[in-house]
């Protein structure tokens, strides 16, 4: 049995505006094991990027943690991140235990600062010998397929795919146990996408990082590396299951709709056909009552409008939040 690396209990994080709150993450509970890749999949605006901010306690106003707890295992013991302030988590754990490759990572580096400056800065803030860390950075550059001498270059001298790998090399330099990658492939062409997936998997194999959270809207990409997948809709987890069983038989109607809208060059896709989900995702200021998917769901029943389905384990390892499957059990 693998150990739990990160645990979230009933986490709610809202964007608190003057009069209203946007309920971007609303009551999520999940756990991430050691030596595991978790894919978080959902459409734009379903709260997946907010979830990544919540995991590493990057709470910048108006984003506020309203409820729930987040635990991270550090040296064999659980630390409650949610009880600390952002600055405290930043000082103690960012870079060392948790690291993130943000969306549009290729534009995260200042074009006028040489990349080695970031490493020097990192060494300074963590009290590590600069030259030692630079040497490590050069090796890491080599591991992600970049020339180690390029660390002296300016970011604009590198292509988009290379810059992104440089960000990954710098972000993982202190061997954090958890790596969060937010839409790392969406701005890359398919050839560079594959290189990036290879780099991530290699880091996991070498034990540089223990677990990876891969946030994306592209199911076909995350399917290549993930062990389990979280499907999000309108700030909720609707399904959480191992990738293979999820692909074989998606249970939640939203998951089914999402899978059936994927177009990849495969004979199975042609046979299956393509469908679309009617309507648009709801406004998270005032989400629908009951199950948030019910206005678009082809199987909606009366109970779906009234009561929210809890995320329930219906088979070992398979969790789904849908009344269709609760009745079968009762």
């Amino acid at each position: 049995m693998k150990e739990i690396l990160l645990k979230a209990e009933n986490v709610r994080a809202y964007y608190k505006l003057e009069k209203v709150s946007v309920k971007a993450v609303d009551g999520l509970s999940f756990e991430i094991l050691e030596d595991e890749v978790i894919g978080v999949v959902g459409e734009s605006g379903c709260g997946k990027t907010t979830l990544s901010n919540v995991i590493f306690m990057n709470m910048v106003k108006p984003l506020t943690l309203v409820d729930g707890k987040i635990f991270l295992r550090v040296n064999g013991e659980f630390v409650e991140l949610s009880s600390m302030t952002r600055d405290e988590v930043k000082r103690k754990f960012w870079g060392k235990e948790i690291t993130i490759i943000p969306q549009a990572a290729m534009n995260a580096l200042m074009p006028t600062i040489r990349m080695e400056k970031y490493v020097r800065h990192l060494a300074e803030s963590h009290g590590i010998d600069e030259e030692e860390l630079l040497e490590k950075a050069r090796r890491r550059f080599e591991e992600v397929g970049l020339d180690p001498l390029w660390i002296k270059r300016y970011p604009f001298e590198l292509s988009g795919g290379m810059r992104q790998r440089a960000v990954i090399a710098i972000a993982t330099i202190l061997n954090p146990s958890l790596l969060i990658a937010d839409e790392p492939t969406s701005a890359l062409d398919v050839v560079n996408q594959k290189v990036l997936l290879k780099v991530l998997m290699q880091m996991k194999r070498q034990g540089i990082v223990k677990s990876i959270i891969f946030i994306t809207h592209d199911i076909a990409t995350v399917r290549q590396i993930a062990d389990r997948m979280i499907i999000m809709y309108a700030g909720k987890i609707v399904e959480f299951a191992p990738v293979e069983s999820l692909l074989e038989k998606p249970l939640h109607p939203y998951t089914q709709g999402l899978f059936n809208s994927v177009l990849t060059p495969e004979p199975e896709v042609k046979k299956r056909g393509i469908t679309s989900i009617p309507g648009a995702p709801p406004n998270l200021i005032n989400p629908p009552s009951g199950c948030r998917f019910h206005p678009r769901c082809p199987h909606a029943m009366d109970v779906c409008k009234e009561k929210e389905p809890p995320l329930t384990e219906i088979e070992p390892g398979r969790r789904v939040a849908c009344w269709l499957y609760m009745e079968e059990r009762a």
Partner: protein, 268 residues
């Protein structure tokens, strides 16, 4: 009969004032589109696929080569305004960015009124025209009262793209050139747009050219695929042949790198 014949099409852009630098954007491209046929020009950015589309739409003159639409050379045989209007009526474009296809200062149905003014048999009065607009909106799955009188910023990207297709229902063109029509809308509404274009083909015999970088889309919808690289067509044929048994190195690399839903890439 072939609806569109493209023969040895070449476009060279010259840059610079004194020392001319030449960029061959499209090199010697030839292909045909039959009636009721859907073809895809697939390639990455800079492969020349959009330049080819612009020449077919008569927006950009070719350096050399011919384009025949319904037997007429569109760059030589169209001379007066009348025949140009006729060409515009028969060949229709659906662009990538539905946000840029509308003038933000006018209600969205303006684009449909413009389509009506292009018609050969115009409706006799405004009421009839409005009926036609409503019918076209129903055809693309939009309730007219949701969009009529609204401005572009008040409706979603998917709705905007659907209204562009509603134009096609009014004009009933013989050929639609769709440049990345689904790349800016959510995955869950993409299927709907593709279905609408397929319906148009079934009911009116429209030929469609998809310009896309998405091999998955091309594989799914087309009868014929042309893979472009550096301005040339490097591979052509039936989707099953191009995707499942590619012969050109570039196509092999492309197909091999695309993540699949039902199988894992082996060398990760």
């Amino acid at each position: 009969m072939s609806r569109l014949v493209v023969k040895n099409l070449t476009k060279i852009f010259s840059l610079g004032f004194f020392s001319k630098r030449r960029i061959e954007a499209v090199k010697n491209v030839s292909f045909e589109v039959k009636e009721k046929e859907i073809v895809s020009l697939v390639g990455e950015s800079g492969s020349g696929k959009t330049t080819t589309a612009k020449m077919i739409l008569r927006l950009l003159p070719p350096t050399s080569g011919e384009i025949y639409f319904e037997g007429k050379d569109i760059w030589k045989d169209i001379k007066d305004r009348e025949s140009l209007v006729e060409f515009r009526r028969k060949v229709h474009a659906v662009f990538q960015d539905p946000f840029a296809s509308y003038n933000p200062f006018y209600p969205v149905e303006r684009t449909l009124w413009q389509a009506i003014s292009l018609l050969e048999n115009k409706p006799s009065n405004k009421k009839e025209a409005l009926e036609l607009i409503k019918e076209s909106l129903f055809r693309v799955g939009i309730d007219p009262k949701d969009v009529l009188g609204k401005y572009p910023h008040q409706i979603s990207g998917g709705q905007k793209q659907r209204i562009m297709i509603a134009r096609c229902w009014i004009l009933r063109p013989l050929l639609i050139v769709a440049d990345e029509p689904t790349s800016m809308i959510d995955a869950s509404s993409r299927g709907g747009i593709i279905k609408l274009l397929e319906e148009l083909r079934e009911e009116q015999g429209t030929s469609i050219i998809f310009i896309t970088h998405d091999l998955g889309l091309a594989y799914y919808v087309s009868d014929n695929i042309f893979v472009m690289k550096n301005g040339e067509i490097v591979e052509r044929g039936h989707p099953d042949k191009v995707v499942l048994e590619p012969t050109h190195e570039y196509t092999k690399l492309l197909v091999g790198s695309i993540p699949k839903l039902y199988r894992k890439l082996e060398d990760l």
